[in-house]
């Protein structure tokens, strides 16, 4: 467990470079902080704060903003959610995102909260990122590396620092996103579902109460067996969700039906 202290005694470390940030995080076992929108309420709730925080700097190269690269759209981890929502490149690559992000938290949180932070805590963007097979760009104590998000989440070191991620060139892909919360806006996610059709295959991922999950078995069923045994779709997705921590049967039922809805939207190109 990380060392904790009274709130007043928190020391905020301000490294000059990503490399120094990783070194400080490793040395003091201190968490990184950027927008602080997730850390602050979490620590307030527990009444326990880390002794030190490592503040990330959005002016470090490639840490903020969106630009096109040879492999797709490169997004800096410290880009705020509101910047992402209104950026023209985001609208070009990810058409449903702007409307979707309007459901995420409130304007104040979106102005501070970062896309990197959202991804790391399994927030609303993580299902889409997983479905898109984004590659993350990570600074670690052993150097820099780029790898698929799904792989990084499995092997992530505590001091790994997310610099950004690359979304493949998905212009022309069809995608649909839906969040199920407790109310219309500013709700903890019960489930966020992303459905992407890349022209060949459908990709499905979900985040929320049961954790981040690429619905691989369901995807396979959609491709390989749907035509022959359409009635089994519900059982397949239900089994896959239940096996990966989605315990609430009513929520699994909702996800099943949402998935059917999104699949038809993507198939119809609406």
């Amino acid at each position: 467990m990380s060392p904790v202290t009274a709130r007043r005694a928190i020391r905020v470390l301000r490294p000059d470079s990503p490399g120094e940030a990783v070194r400080l995080a490793r040395q003091f076992r201190a968490p990184y902080t950027a927008g602080g929108t997730w850390l602050q309420p979490a620590h307030e709730r527990d009444q326990c704060w880390p002794e030190k925080l490592v503040a990330l700097n959005a002016s470090w190269p490639a840490f903020r903003g969106l630009e096109e690269g040879p492999d797709g759209l490169v997004v800096g981890a410290l880009t705020s959610l509101s910047e992402m929502a209104r950026h023209l490149l985001a609208r070009e690559y990810l058409p449903p995102l702007a409307v979707f992000l309007n459901q995420v938290a409130g304007p104040g949180v979106r102005a501070l909260g970062t896309v990197g932070g959202n991804l790391i805590v399994g927030g609303d963007l993580s299902a889409l990122a997983m479905a898109l097979d984004v590659r993350v760009d990570v600074v670690g104590h052993a150097g820099e590396r780029a790898l698929p998000l799904s792989l990084w989440l499995r092997e992530r070191a505590p001091d790994d620092l997310l610099r950004g991620f690359t979304i493949p060139d998905c212009r022309g892909w069809r995608m649909s996103l839906e969040k199920l919360g407790y109310r219309e806006r500013f709700s903890p996610t019960r489930a966020t579902l992303a459905c992407v059709h890349d022209g060949v295959r459908v990709r499905l991922a979900v985040s929320g109460e049961g954790g981040l999950l690429r619905l691989a078995a369901t995807e396979a069923f959609v491709h390989d067996q749907a035509a022959s045994a359409p009635g089994d779709f519900g059982a397949v997705i239900d089994r896959e969700l239940a096996a990966h921590g989605w315990q609430d049967p009513d929520l699994r039922m909702a996800l099943r039906r949402m998935t059917e809805g999104l699949l038809s939207e993507v198939a119809l190109g609406t």
Partner: protein
């Protein structure tokens, strides 16, 4: 008639509130010598206190005082109805918010650091967390966990049930709702130089608080002053004392002002909630739909302390008799029990809306069994204005209930909704009615006064003991005064909430507007007479030709004397007029006498239910209100619409569940109040047949909007899906399960 308000009607404080410039009690951070107080809360829902050691806390830097139960100078108990709640617990804690000790220090950080060093040893006790079995558990107070047991009866209900052609019986459950006011509980206690204390605090009755605080602080009432400052919302949640007793003790101990302001976590944990109600209702009618018999068995969980629970139970039972409808025989009973589940107390609606939810749902169930239109069933059973109330009492309506129903039946929301191309959303429209009586209720002392004067500066000053918590009372009083005197709003100052001023009684029970109108009817002509007398003496003009108007007094449309000149040359102190009146009750000979002034509402709701997930969106609400004359349209709309949104939250998202006596939500990211995106389009219509000569043309509408909205939403959900929900808040998962079961049956 649809009620509309233009932005230009908004009072000056509205922008200040929206822009965060309005000064609340908890903003008073700059008083000389101000100390910060914090309170140590119990870690256990139920435990014996074995040791409370403040030694380490006392030695911390900046600490000026550390107090425990031993430091309470007077009575270590408070409570409006039953004084059963300790200011600081002596030997036992009964909920996880119970106060054990408190610290005052130079800074908030120092106070919190010291608080963390108070050592408490607990011996955990068995937690009473089920209201259903509380009566069989070891008592939390006195001899039994039953705080109150009450019943109302009319006729022979057993015989009436025997004659019923159709009987429906259902169980209803309502949530533990939180007030979620914008400004959490807080204020300042300021010691004077004579051993007394002045409070500037967010509360609902300065005068009543003086009595309790004097007892707690061991002072005479004359040594305690409460200025009930403009407050960021209360809704009943600040009716009981909150931080005042501890702040007062710390102020007396240190000799300095002490500010206590609960943060949102502490407010969620400590603040009172709406009583969760579990009720079984059985209702029967004949083949024509005439309701013959009605039986109610209710259980209310008041938590660790009674608070206003006994009065809430009484109001619940009154509403459970179905005041709008003619029922031959009823037997209505309820129990209020202690548990370790926090504390429940006053909340907008005061138990009545929980009962109305169940009653209106019963009517829909009967109509369903009879295959009759629910509106027709209501039409058959609604009382006329000439009939007595459901308890045989005299009542005074402002419009016939059948006319309110007719307006609801004509609502445009019954027209088919726009088609959903994807077939995803199921839409439906439903309605419900509700009635509410103004005033504190039957047999309770209920009176209030006010004062009017011309100040030395020439301002027309109105004083009432009521509290401004955003309900637009200042604007309503100003409107009434301007209407009567012809003066300008800028001539008028309204001063509210000082316990040294007139005692208007509590700002609750939708009573303020009624009393304001009544008191003004007395003091306005008397004040005007005095002003005319003085103006006539100063100007040598005929007294009867002098009319008050904008900025001063007029003769034949010409201003002859400004209010400032009058104050300077005359004797403004001689213009002061005081008046007080009893809250209107039924004329002598009637019994019971309370709830004489009745209001009605019909709410029509349109919802959309997501076939894929079971979530519910309320898309439109249409309210038809019969609540007397509208004084200040923005305030009226704000009350009806705001209360309806609180009801929407109760219906769909809000609950504070407990596990082993502990709340499972601790802040507004876990406790789901509606956001602006959850708020539907709303329309408010006014139906007012009150004659010009009616002595009580104005009624209070602070609670009316919450009365019918919950059953209306549930009725609309049933219209959309065929599924009736009786346990609140609506659980999307359960609704989805039921939808899926329906679909499977159809296949």
């Amino acid at each position: 008639m649809e009620l509309k308000a233009q932005p230009a009607m908004a009072g000056t404080s509205v922008l200040q509130r929206i822009e965060g410039r309005f000064g609340y009690a908890t903003d008073q951070q700059h008083l000389p010598g101000l100390l910060h107080g914090v309170i140590l809360r119990s870690r256990h829902a139920h435990a014996r206190l074995l040791r409370v050691d403040t030694t380490r806390a006392r030695s911390m830097p900046g600490v000026r005082a550390v107090v425990t139960a031993a430091d309470v100078p007077g009575l270590n108990r408070f409570g409006i109805v039953v004084r059963d709640q300790p200011v600081l617990c002596e030997d036992r804690v009964r909920y996880e918010g119970d106060a054990i000790a408190a610290v005052a220090a130079d800074t908030l950080e120092q106070a919190r650091a010291a608080l963390a060093l108070i050592d408490v040893d607990y011996e955990p006790l068995v937690v009473v967390d089920q209201a259903e079995t509380a009566e069989q558990m070891a008592p939390l107070h006195g001899e039994s966990n039953v705080v109150a047991r009450d019943s109302l009866a009319r006729g022979d209900s057993n015989a009436a049930f025997a004659r019923c052609a159709v009987i429906v019986e259902h169980h209803y459950q309502t949530p533990r709702q939180m007030h979620a006011f914008m400004e959490t509980e807080g204020g300042v206690a300021i010691p004077d130089n004579n051993g007394g204390v002045a409070f500037r605090v967010g509360c609902q009755s300065g005068h009543r608080d003086v009595e309790q605080l004097a007892d707690i602080l061991g002072l005479k009432p004359s040594q305690v002053t409460v200025e009930a400052t403009p407050t960021g919302g209360a809704f009943g949640g600040k009716d009981e004392l909150t931080i005042q007793p501890v702040a007062g003790i710390l102020a007396l101990q240190t000799g300095f002002p002490v500010l206590i302001h609960l943060d949102r976590f502490e407010s969620c944990r400590v603040g009172i909630k709406r009583h969760p109600v579990s009720v079984v209702m059985t209702t029967g009618c004949d083949r024509q739909g005439r309701i013959l018999a009605h039986r109610v068995d209710a259980l209310l969980d008041t938590g660790a302390y009674a608070s206003l629970g006994p009065a809430v139970l009484e109001n619940f039972l009154d509403h459970a008799t179905a005041p709008l409808y003619r029922i031959e025989a009823y037997s209505v009973s309820g129990r209020l029990v202690y548990t370790n589940n926090g504390v429940s107390g006053a909340f907008r609606g005061f138990g009545g809306n929980q009962a109305t939810f169940a009653v209106e749902s019963q009517l829909d169930a009967l109509a369903g069994k009879l295959k009759m239109c629910p509106l027709q069933l209501r039409r058959i059973n609604l009382r006329t204005v000439d009939e007595p109330g459901s308890r045989g009492q005299a009542v005074r309506w402002t419009a016939p209930p059948t006319e309110v129903l007719a307006e609801a039946a004509a609502s445009p929301l019954w027209l088919p909704a726009a088609a959903d191309a994807c077939g995803r959303w199921l839409t439906g429209t439903g309605m419900a009615m509700g009635a509410q009586g103004n005033g504190l209720g039957d047999g309770l002392p209920d009176s209030g006064g006010g004062r009017m004067s011309l100040t030395a500066e020439g301002r027309i000053r109105l004083e009432f003991g009521f509290v401004d918590y955003g309900q637009n009372l200042v604007e309503a009083i100003t409107c009434l005064v301007c209407e009567a005197l012809g003066c300008a709003a800028s001539d008028v100052d309204v001063v509210l909430g000082n316990s040294r001023g007139p005692d208007s009684g509590p700002t609750s029970a939708s009573r303020s507007s009624v009393l304001v109108q009544g008191v003004l009817a007395t003091i306005l002509p008397r004040w005007q007479d005095r002003v005319r007398d003085q103006a006539a003496a100063l100007t040598d003009l005929p007294r009867d030709e002098l009319d008050s108007g904008p900025g001063g007094l007029f003769v034949n449309g010409q201003r002859v004397l400004s209010y400032q000149e009058l104050a300077k040359k005359g004797q403004p102190e001689q213009t002061m007029v005081d008046a007080s009146q009893e809250f209107p009750v039924a004329p002598e000979g009637n019994q019971p006498v309370g709830r004489y002034l009745q209001l009605q509402i019909a709410t029509v709701a349109r919802v959309a239910v997501d076939r894929l997930t079971g979530r519910v969106r309320v898309t439109e609400l249409h309210h038809i209100t019969a609540a007397g004359r509208v004084i200040y349209p923005p305030g009226y709309l704000g009350q009806i619409e705001g209360a309806a949104i609180m009801g929407l939250g109760m219906a769909l998202t809000e609950d504070m569940p407990t596990r082993e006596g502990r709340y499972l939500a601790d802040n507004l990211d876990q406790y789901m109040i509606p956001t602006m995106h959850d708020v539907p389009d709303q329309r408010v219509d006014i139906l007012d047949n009150t004659p010009e000569t009616d002595p009580f043309p104005v009624r209070g509408v602070g609670e009316l909007g919450i009365e019918a909205v919950v059953p209306a939403i549930c009725s609309a959900i049933e219209a959309a899906t065929g599924i009736r929900l009786r346990h609140l808040p609506v659980d999307a998962g359960s609704l989805l399960s039921a939808l899926c079961a329906q679909e499977e049956q159809r296949l």
